[in-house]
């Protein structure tokens, strides 16, 4: 489990454009570095990210080794209904982590 900071407004008006911000704690090891013994350090990055809002995909992204450590994503969505925004990402170990944020639309 990695630490994730999610910033989604708790409430929004119907039709309002909301900003979603996600900060994920991850080393994003590129796989191109070597350790002090000269051996390559295995690649360890989050390679795919998906954000859904009431099961509708808002953003789907593939990441590559040039992404910095602790990636930060900021994107927009239109608030249509109250519900859950789900963030799911998979790293090179095959571990999937899912985080949720609730939003109330008035």
């Amino acid at each position: 489990m990695v630490r994730v900071l999610i910033n989604v407004p708790k409430t929004a008006h119907r039709g309002e454009i909301i900003e979603i911000k996600v900060l994920i704690s991850h080393p994003m090891e590129s796989g191109q570095r070597r350790n002090e013994m000269g051996q390559p350090i295995a690649r360890d990055i989050i390679h795919s990210f998906r954000c859904t809002y009431n099961n509708e995909v808002v953003l789907e992204a593939e990441f590559f080794p040039a992404i910095a450590a602790n990636p930060f994503l900021s994107f927009f969505a239109v608030a249509e209904d109250s519900g859950t925004i789900v963030f799911a990402f998979v790293d090179d170990h095959g571990t999937e982590q899912v985080e949720r944020a609730a939003i109330i639309v008035e």
Partner: protein, 253 residues
């Protein structure tokens, strides 16, 4: 007569120059790029808050001795103002202690827990959480009284030329501040935002890590993490930063 006036004018002029050269403390924030500044301004974009979040978990986690930080101190908000006056003099030990040392003293004396290693994620998390509580407060670390000898030590070290490059802190961070070193701006070197997230490190780091970097940069042997010299330098730096506010946890390039 004319010569006398000239000399007098020269004296006045040199005083004016001296007054103008008196350093106004300038935070590294002011010199950072707009992108870096906006990262620091927005808590949800500031990667250091990943550590703060971990710090919140650690704050309320019971240690081996059964006590958590929260059991004695209550909410982290009770730490407001602490980092603004640290390092502070500890009368029982007759020496000043830094915030990191204080956290470790708490652990060994009251929590029956192991010391946390310098620059470990846990220590950075706790010091970032405690530091955050003082954000926006003026840096105000005692420099006189019992702190005087330690301040003087720090001042001496700050002006001591070290390493194969034979440079002192003073030469770069006072004399050449505002100019460039290998394309990067030389800041005045104020320590008002530590522990901070450094983009170059892609991680959080303490003031110790920063000083170690500078020392290896001038090809000197860095101080060991528990060296009293580091505490002295930290005290002197805090005195120099008088007039700035605590920015912990800051973001720097």
């Amino acid at each position: 007569m004319t010569r006398g006036v000239g000399r007098w004018l020269y004296l006045v002029a040199s005083f004016v120059v001296l007054a103008a050269a008196a350093p106004v403390p300038r935070s590294g924030y002011t010199d950072a790029s707009p992108a870096t500044r906006s990262m620091q301004d927005d808590d949800s974009a500031n990667p250091a808050f990943l550590w703060v979040k971990q710090g919140e978990t650690l704050w309320s986690t019971s240690q081996d001795g059964g006590k958590s930080c929260a059991d004695c101190h209550g909410a982290p908000a009770s730490m407001r103002g602490v980092v603004a006056r640290y390092p502070a003099f500890d009368a029982a030990r007759s020496r000043p202690v830094t915030l990191e040392q204080r956290i470790n003293l708490c652990r060994t004396e009251h929590q029956a827990a192991e010391k946390l290693e310098q620059d470990s994620d846990s220590l950075l998390s706790l010091s970032a959480l405690v530091g955050l509580q003082s954000r926006g407060m003026p840096v105000h670390v005692q420099q006189d009284g019992p702190m005087q000898p330690f301040h003087d030590d720090g001042a001496r070290l700050y002006a001591t030329q070290m390493g194969q490059l034979n440079l002192s802190c003073h030469q770069c961070h006072d004399g050449l501040a505002g100019q460039k070193l290998a394309g990067s701006l030389i800041p005045q070197g104020h320590a008002n935002g530590y522990p901070l997230y450094r983009l170059e490190w892609q991680s959080m780091g303490s003031l110790y890590r920063r000083i170690r970097n500078c020392l290896t940069g001038v090809r000197a042997t860095p101080f060991s993490p528990d060296a009293p010299e580091l505490v002295a330098i930290e005290i002197y730096l805090a005195g120099r930063a008088q007039g700035l506010v605590v920015e912990t946890p800051a973001v720097r390039p």
